[in-house]
């Protein structure tokens, strides 16, 4: 369970998050929408501990632990996963080697033995199916030369491998073609459970047709200015953000 209270964060001295409050219970899907530059990716970065951002105020607890005290890799091992808006390329590092390191470090954190090579490869094969990830991609270097859509698929593949308790999907739908969108969304749904929660950052209602949110929040200017059920996404699709901006008094 994720609880965010009055979260403020800066980058290079500029305040981007200006008091975020959010409660995400196990099994819930929350969508976060909002205009460009409103702070959605920043929120994802801050939750996952990106050192580029500085938290100036507020609290974040995750299953009772103070998330803000943990290193980024510890947060990951606690089960916080981010599907990046812009996944980076790591030349020369094979996906297999990368995932194996990640899986085994997470296992170690939980006091488990490293996975044997054969078990690991079996797991890879199994999880690739979720997002119909091409075999060739899995044998290449991490994201190197992947198309935009392939990168996004690869993110969800990694999510499937790591089985996080909280998945943050930052515009995973952007760059996906119509079929890929369905495949990726189905992958996400297949991994959903009563324990796992999901934060979906998106600009489009389309994705929310597949991954149906319990709540939709509008992030504007570093604050959540409106929260409602899934119908809010439809309303935003239709009317844009101007009426919300007006509501907040701009």
């Amino acid at each position: 369970m994720l609880e965010i209270k009055n979260l403020h964060a800066n980058i290079n001295g500029k305040e981007i998050l200006k008091g975020i409050n959010l409660l995400v219970k196990p099994g819930e899907v929350h969508a976060i929408m909002g205009p460009n530059g409103s702070g959605k990716s920043t929120l994802a970065s801050v939750l996952t501990g990106n050192p580029a951002f500085e938290v100036t105020e507020g609290e974040v607890s995750f299953y009772g632990k103070n998330l803000l005290e943990l290193l980024p890799e510890e947060r990951a091992c606690e089960g916080v996963f981010l599907s990046f808006q812009y996944p980076v390329e790591i030349p020369g590092v094979s996906m297999v080697n990368f995932m194996r390191t990640a899986v085994n470090q997470q296992r170690k954190y939980r006091g488990l033995e490293p996975m044997s090579a054969s078990d690991f490869l079996k797991l890879m094969r199994e999880k690739k199916e979720y997002v119909e990830l091409d075999n060739k991609l899995a044998n290449r270097s991490v994201n190197e030369g992947f198309s935009g859509g392939e990168k996004k698929r690869n993110e969800i593949f990694q999510m499937a491998m790591l089985e996080p308790r909280l998945s943050i999907l930052d515009e995973t739908d952007s760059g996906l073609d119509i079929d890929a969108l369905r495949i990726v969304a189905n992958g996400v749904n297949a991994l959903k459970s009563a324990e796992n929660s999901t934060l979906v950052i998106t600009h489009y209602q389309r994705l929310l047709d597949y991954i149906v949110p319990d709540f939709v929040h509008v992030l504007y200017n570093g604050q959540i200015v409106k929260s409602a059920g899934k119908e809010l996404a439809l309303e935003l699709e239709e009317k844009g953000y101007d009426w919300i901006k007006k509501e907040v008094g701009e």
């Binding site: 890799e73 990951a76 091992c77 790591i90 020369g92 990640a102 470090q105």
Partner: protein, 482 residues
Amino acid sequence: MADEKDKIINEVTQGEYKYGFTSDIPTDYIPKGLNEDIIRLISSKKNEPEWLLEIRLKAFRHWLTLEMPHWAHLNIPEIDYQSIYYYASPTKKEGPKSLDEVDPELVKTFDKLGIPLHEQKMLSGMAVDAVLDSVSVKTTFKEQLAELGIIFCSFSDAVKDYPELVQKYMGSVVNYTDNFFAALNSAVFSDGSFVYIPKGVRCPMELSTYFRINAINTGQFERTLIIADEDSYVSYLEGCTAPMRDENQLHAAIVEILLHERAEVKYSTVQNWYPGNKEGKGGIYNFVTKRALCKGDYSKISWTQVETGSAITWKYPSCILRGNNSIGEFYSVAVTNNYQQADTGTKMYHIGKNTSSHIVSKGISAGHSQNSYRGLVKVVGKAENARNFSQCDSLLLGDKCGAHTFPYIDVHNQTAIVEHEATTSKISEDQVFYCNQRGIATEDAIGLIVNGYAKEVLNKLPMEFAVEAQKLLQITLEGSVG
């Protein structure tokens, strides 16, 4: 944020040197210093023939006329050549013929270094010549190799047992007049390895020499000579370590390789001499002359080096492509951390027709270190259709280190195609964070990224060495990025 990054860089580069122990092995020294009497003494200790002493003395007299080279991008403190011991050997009665006669302490030392001298314990498929300080203490699998006509022994044994081969080839690739350190080595060299692969023989196992400096204030001056006869093949590995000491120690080696027609030699080095401490105190000065002569048509030399150790490295394994259609390759990863300095690269001399060369250099600098690539591609007038491709990449970890590239291209034939590409990059915080976000701790993330960066070169190493080298890269950079 900048602080955070510095902190991580510091952490990743503060790895400890694992091979810094000293062994308590009774050692014979000869007096310190260098003069003709010392050289005669070394030669007589080794019961050398007169012709070899003559070479030593000529080399010494020539050395006296030379000055230390200063063209490298290195800051080399004054070296007092009179304060060095030029010969130190584990005390023994006679050269050990079987392992039972080798001092158990010595066996233990090499065991600790991961180099078992017991043949039954060894990785199958690798024969080892173990050199401690100035002498070779044990060569394994000699007999099996002899059945194929392959000679693999210490240089000293070669002088005794195959004097005509040694006399014919020694100095034919690297003459004592070549440079300051080559002259010094030729005057005082103590031991090293000798390899001869006969016509048409593919050496069935990796040959490897492991160099270890143990004695204090001692220089190590080994010489390796490899002769690959027509249609032969050998893969040769070289590894080296030294104890941690506050004093700098000098290592000036010569490696000569001669390739006849269609011969192929792969020479791999994992150089891990003690690099000095974090403040730059101590460490090995590594001044090495390595050269291969592709004398025969269609011969091929491939150098692969992973340079992680030494306080100062001065080393340019080169290829003389004299045979028509001969090929020279150079694959290098050089890592420097703390106050290490490296000036390394290669020289490709295209002399025959249709010769080609390929250079891949990956420099990784961290801490306050300086890392330079220096390479020469020379194509002489009659070298028709020469081809060269050079790729020189530098990776910087942190902002206190330096990376430099000095490519020299000297082409005298219009048919030549010479290409050079160079890049400089930093490990990006985004890459590290991406790894972190998957649960990978920063040190391991940097290990992954650096190994990925160096992969093209590491892939050229024989399997067991590649794994070792990957770990070494990570250890060398421990404490340097975050």
